[in-house]
């Protein structure tokens, strides 16, 4: 019998995310004011969004459509009967002293999304993260604290109501995540889905996607949750992951040394890479929700639901599976290509023009993406059409041109467009696969470089590359590289 050494308690984190996304409409949720970003202060205001007495808010039907579509894409049940409620709180960013939100009858509930994390072998690990609910609400205004860049120390504040009434969807996840990586992946997948739907641009820097994290730590095997801490103020996916990793470590250390975790809200400090307490007393919020009397209930009809369902595009998770299982792309390639809907659609259009999937993917992820990044353009803005990319890939596959020639002509195709085949013909770039022509070029090169030839034959076989280069120069890069290598080896050794 062996005696077990005392096992160190293992801890696990329990993580849920609350995400606010701005819905990409032209007007605010309850009035005709523009949602335009970066306009002068209080440019987009009216009696409704500033809460003047006697006004009547009316729901923007595109907000409803976008919220329902997001709910459907997140596999939610869409409420047959939904309503708005008033959430009361008093803060100067809120002109009415209440926010119109949804409390007990949100538009969508009980959904999920699937995240995919490649393991060390590159194999995808898939996990479903539950979506508790999705509801519609209005955003608040923006405060500028005068006399100080912080609230404390300022003597008064200035209010800009441009954002007030901008439509938001609040999406609450189940506490299904266990690491910073999973949470960051969840947030990215959520944004990917919303962008595929075209309902939000999900720009974290501009605040159109904001994530709050709820996190607690408990010993592995324990079913009750530990004390929950909320983290705010992360403005990138990377920051979400690091804030969580920091917090797991902090909470685990506290528990190990016998301390108690305090239920509180903490702020992520990007500069210092740590979370700090906001020292806000919890449990004191009392929003006194009640049904919004100015807005009628929403009853989405089965017919309307069917219509919106039919308008949903193929979603990123579906595309990934499709690319991996049917097209034979690696999990990594499938992730890269499906990250952006426009790129995925470009890829699919290239395949529709009969391109080899793996080759097409490589061109899109390599030279084409590099061009897009360098010139800060979208794939829909380049002159190179998917059909021309398919031609290019076919020319390489058929050995009509080398990969090198393809790379050389790509810039012209990217900027001027046109047919790859015609360009190759026009420029006389068709690959030379005629043995006698390549042999003649080799002979000429050998005759022109007797010293190198002697050195090669004396054992300096590294010079093969030099000869290949010379033959390519001689043929303007058109000699079939594989054939050239073969023939050169024969001739040089002969």
């Amino acid at each position: 019998m062996t005696t077990a050494a005392p096992v160190k308690t293992q801890y696990e984190a329990v993580i849920g995310l609350e995400t606010h996304v701005q819905l990409k409409t032209a007007t605010k949720i309850f009035c005709n004011c523009s949602t335009e970003f970066d306009t002068p202060p209080n440019q987009n205001v009216c009696p409704i969004c500033t809460g003047m007495p006697g006004v009547l808010p009316v729901l923007n039907r595109t907000v409803l459509e976008y919220a329902v579509k997001a709910g459907l894409a997140l596999q939610c049940q869409i409420a047959a009967y939904s309503k708005f409620d008033r959430k009361q709180y008093f803060y100067p960013d809120l002109p009415k002293n209440y926010q119109i939100s949804q409390y007990d009858l949100p538009i969508a509930e009980h959904g999920w999304l699937e995240i995919e994390i490649p393991d060390s072998d590159g194999k995808p690990m898939r996990k479903r993260i539950g979506i508790t609910r999705l509801h519609m609400e209005e955003d608040a205004g923006k405060l500028v604290h005068a006399g100080s860049d912080r609230l404390s120390g300022s003597t008064y504040s200035l209010v800009d109501f441009n954002r007030t009434g901008v439509p938001l969807a609040e999406i609450v996840s189940e506490p299904d995540m266990r690491s910073g990586r999973e949470a960051a992946e969840y947030a990215q997948e959520l944004r990917r889905i919303l962008r595929y739907l075209g309902v939000s641009d999900g720009n974290m820097q501009e605040g159109s996607l904001r994530c709050d994290v709820n996190i607690s730590v408990r010993p592995v095997g324990q079913s009750e949750f530990g004390t929950k801490v909320e983290i705010k103020n992360m403005n990138s996916f990377n920051a979400i992951q690091r804030a969580i990793e920091y917090e797991i470590e902090r909470q685990t250390e506290a528990l190990e040394s016998g301390d108690r975790i305090i239920q509180e809200t903490r702020l992520w400090e990007e500069g210092a890479q740590r979370t700090i307490s906001m020292r806000v007393k919890e449990g004191s919020s009392d929003y006194r929700y009640f049904p919004e009397p100015d807005l009628g209930p929403i009853e989405v009809t089965a017919e309307q639901l069917k219509q919106w369902q039919s308008e949903l595009p193929e979603l990123p998770a579906q595309k990934r599976r499709h690319y991996e299982d049917e097209l034979g792309l690696s999990a990594y390639d499938a992730r890269v290509i499906t990250d952006d809907r426009a790129i995925a659609e470009y890829f699919e259009a290239t395949l529709a023009a009969k391109a080899n999937p793996k080759l097409a993917a490589n061109w899109i992820m390599g030279d084409i993406s590099a061009y897009l990044n360098e010139n800060r353009v979208s794939i829909t803005e380049i002159a190179l059409q998917p059909t021309a990319l398919a031609e290019l890939v076919q020319l390489i596959e058929a050995n009509t041109i080398s990969n090198k020639i393809a790379k050389d002509i790509l810039p012209e195709l990217l900027t001027k467009g046109g047919s790859a085949k015609e360009l190759v013909e026009k420029k006389g770039l068709i690959q030379i696969s005629d043995t006698s022509v390549i042999e003649a070029a080799i002979d000429a090169v050998m005759a022109a470089h007797p010293d190198e030839l002697q050195k090669y034959r004396g054992g300096k076989t590294k010079l093969l590359g030099f000869f290949v280069g010379q033959v390519m120069k001689q043929t303007s890069g058109r000699a079939d590289p594989k054939l050239t290598n073969q023939l050169l080896a024969q001739k040089l050794n002969g």
Partner: protein, 96 residues
């Protein structure tokens, strides 16, 4: 019905500073009002669906078309205090 502590709490939530005399006065007055409404509880509503509105109309929506409000200046002017294009509000105390 309602006690002074609840009145104190609601006043706090509404950011109202009440004197002890006012708290006493409002406790009595609010108690009377709530007591009057309490009569409604005499009816058996266990078989009635909750009603949030008097008018039976749903799905009132509008098209997503921008229409700028023309009298922005009037809104800014109607505030107790402004600074240029901003509304100006007194010093905000973080929640105690």
């Amino acid at each position: 019905m309602i006690d002074r502590e609840q009145v104190h709490k609601v006043a706090h939530l509404a950011r109202l500073n009440l004197t002890p005399e006012e708290e006493e006065q409002f406790t009595t007055q609010l108690g009377n009002i709530l007591g009057y409404f309490e009569q409604l509880n005499e009816l058996d509503t266990s078989q009635v669906e909750p009603t949030t509105r008097a008018i039976d109309v749903s799905n009132v929506t509008r098209a997503d078309i921008t229409k700028p409000y023309e009298n922005r200046e009037a809104i800014l002017e109607s505030a107790p205090n402004r600074e240029g294009e901003f509304f100006r509000v007194p010093q905000i105390f973080s929640e105690e």
